[in-house]
Symmetry: C4
Subunit: 269 residues, 4 copies
Amino acid sequence: MDGWRDLRSVIDGQLDPTVRVQRGLSPLNKALVFLIFLAVLTAVLETEPEIAAGHQSLFASLELIFGVIFAVEYAARVWTAPERNSSVSPWRSRVHFALSPAGMLDALVIILTFAPFVVVNAAVVRLVRVVRIVSLAKLGRTSRALDHLFEAVRSRKDELLATAGLAAVIVLFGATALFWAEGAMQPEKFGSIPRSVWWAVVTLTTIGYGDAYPVTPLGKVLAAMVAIAGIALIAMPTGILAASFSDALARDRAMAEANNAPRTTAEAD
Amino acid sequence: MDGWRDLRSVIDGQLDPTVRVQRGLSPLNKALVFLIFLAVLTAVLETEPEIAAGHQSLFASLELIFGVIFAVEYAARVWTAPERNSSVSPWRSRVHFALSPAGMLDALVIILTFAPFVVVNAAVVRLVRVVRIVSLAKLGRTSRALDHLFEAVRSRKDELLATAGLAAVIVLFGATALFWAEGAMQPEKFGSIPRSVWWAVVTLTTIGYGDAYPVTPLGKVLAAMVAIAGIALIAMPTGILAASFSDALARDRAMAEANNAPRTTAEAD
Amino acid sequence: MDGWRDLRSVIDGQLDPTVRVQRGLSPLNKALVFLIFLAVLTAVLETEPEIAAGHQSLFASLELIFGVIFAVEYAARVWTAPERNSSVSPWRSRVHFALSPAGMLDALVIILTFAPFVVVNAAVVRLVRVVRIVSLAKLGRTSRALDHLFEAVRSRKDELLATAGLAAVIVLFGATALFWAEGAMQPEKFGSIPRSVWWAVVTLTTIGYGDAYPVTPLGKVLAAMVAIAGIALIAMPTGILAASFSDALARDRAMAEANNAPRTTAEAD
Amino acid sequence: MDGWRDLRSVIDGQLDPTVRVQRGLSPLNKALVFLIFLAVLTAVLETEPEIAAGHQSLFASLELIFGVIFAVEYAARVWTAPERNSSVSPWRSRVHFALSPAGMLDALVIILTFAPFVVVNAAVVRLVRVVRIVSLAKLGRTSRALDHLFEAVRSRKDELLATAGLAAVIVLFGATALFWAEGAMQPEKFGSIPRSVWWAVVTLTTIGYGDAYPVTPLGKVLAAMVAIAGIALIAMPTGILAASFSDALARDRAMAEANNAPRTTAEAD
């Protein structure tokens, strides 16, 4: 019984990135990340007719292999769940994990991996791919750098939301202005505010596909104003994030200086 | 009489975000913001023929409901005006509010909401929508984050205007250069400086719709120079704003440090 | 004689922005800046056939008026030149000014303003416009904010040049890669490295007109790499400028703190 | 023998930028950089049929001249190799250099320069050009500013990689969403995830060629979300780099202040 417990503890140590003392992922988690990457790549390439044509059995085999591996991983995570929550009974902690968002996502991906062999439905298979890619987000759990990024965004959340609000107001005003100026000339592209909103988003993000653009002098003057506002709207969040990252670095430096500071005058006395 | 005064004070406390002690909007203001958002969404969707077709009566009813709610809100704001300005007589403060920009905008939006029932004129109705969206700006009154953004922009106003001036000079030079290099080849697009200015704005903001671009080698060399200048012009305001936000954060940190600083050597003696 | 000298000194004080004690431009210089702006706008609009058609005499009159005003300004600048350089004889300082770059540019603009009345040559007239716009740069002389911008750029010149060098290398490599991958498929657009360079510049600056883009899978993979490098190349100068502006603000703050610092322990003894 | 050694030392001092005490490149290295630039320009222009047509012999002569000069440079570098590595015998150090990446690149460029005279093969000649441009990277060896840039990137490597990871996830999700929403309408452009990935990269980098864009309302809503995510993804690395550059400048300033600091109270006692 103790032998099983020791094995369970070792496997959990490999599966759960949060219990690890060393920096980085465990070898097992690195292998799983690599496999998820391969599974996503396979799912992506399978959608391309020029690549998939004539290799259906190869792709089906690959999916089967990935499905078995991820099913084993899921079983191991369920089995080792008591290691991560020792305050309740083993089976309770397993049910907890199975009903947690991470556990249900894992189960969903596995079920959808095997679904094509049961129900041959192209539309469902497509959705499977979308969901399976979510697995990649598992990488996020382990990354300290990602936490830094999210922390920098979170600490300036209000300013970033205010910028987003300003952007939304400019999109609405810009779309209304172009609907008014170009609606009669180009009804297909500016004939309603929702249609103009597509133009406003493509312009404010400076993408500019060229599927919709003003042709009248008045429309061009109004569009130029929206375009210039777009520059300001890109500069705003960039500046906010730059300041937030700078602030985090300055705090780190101040903390390091405080720890390494020379003895004070008072102490020297 | 005192009962009315108490009610007036309570309603004003809900309507006026500046008298609120707690952070955030009052429940009444939150509901009003949500209603303004719905009213704007309704006005936007109503312009789309594919959505509005066959639902004219639904949209008319929605507009009537929104109109009545905003009229009641306006009446409440007029009635509670003395709470916000106790130095003059109640009726004077109400007239003050009605003639203030905020009060006149509110009244205008309400009048224009009911106008379609009086004068059925598509052009006016369209303009109503534009004006009504302005109501969303009310959100700005309550947002401290927006004040931070505006403060960061205001404190670097001179540098940002200088960048805008540089951008204007580059637009003029770029447009003149392309008018000279491509005017004869593409008279529709580069046949005058104003026409070339449209190309220059679309290029400097890196939108690049693709409706106008140089085709001669000389035009392409000149356009490449304008394009590279465009990168510099986007980098400038972003850098200025980043520095301004950083500066504000550093000042906040320095102030916090000054308050938490250990007793100085002199005091220790 | 002294009366003339006093007048000369007063006029020079109005014309020369560097001798002014107060902030901003003198009323005379403000009027001149406004006139230059009007002259540029007139010159720009005159090139647009839809605006100029039927108004030739109006535009000719405007040009004559602007020409006379700028000629008077030039004469005043020559006359007051001794005020700005008292170490040499009055006439020497006037010749100095007339041969200085600013003086020669002023003279050139005036000569070219009157040229159309002598030689009616559309090509020359066009070039006159280009040169006349240069006058707007006069604004730069007075702007302290512009000096701040230039100082921020100058202090990080090496890093910005290194970024430009990196960008040039990526343009060359990207253009060569696409020339190799797409040259045979789209000879008009990628049939030589210079042709591909146009694509690379339009892509790296994220303009993307859509006149040239890869169509083969290999070309798209290579182009995606260039596109991602483009994001890095835009981030680089922005980050450098943000740091430079931040540094200038931090220095200003440190200087202000040093001036307002409380007396030190040593002084307190 | 000593005379040869002295000459070898002098030539090495001119060729090897790392032994130079003064700032900048030696005159010989400046000339070589200029020649490499000319050689690259020649190679680039030679690929353009409109320029090369009728000037084949001119371009061939230029290539011969550049080839001879770079061969002499290579021979000099081999001969002076002992100066740069005095711990082993002269011939060993020469073999070391010849087998080092820099030495092999130099040799490869020279061999490929003369190859066209031996094997007349357009495809090989094209590749020669690609490789020869690599020589420009030699400039990087000497640039301190480039080191600053690379250091700023390296010190924030984790955050930049995390941003790249986020970008990859958004590209995958965006491409899958558009494949699902637009795949049936535009199979040529969104008919598989790899095809949609091209659209996602062009959109997230805000290039927007206009070769692929959504046409259905659902596709436009999803694309707008990807476009807005693109702004965030451009803001992230810019903000990280800005903070990194700022941090480097602040460290430099703190170091300068520490060196110039007034004597401390303890010393004053």
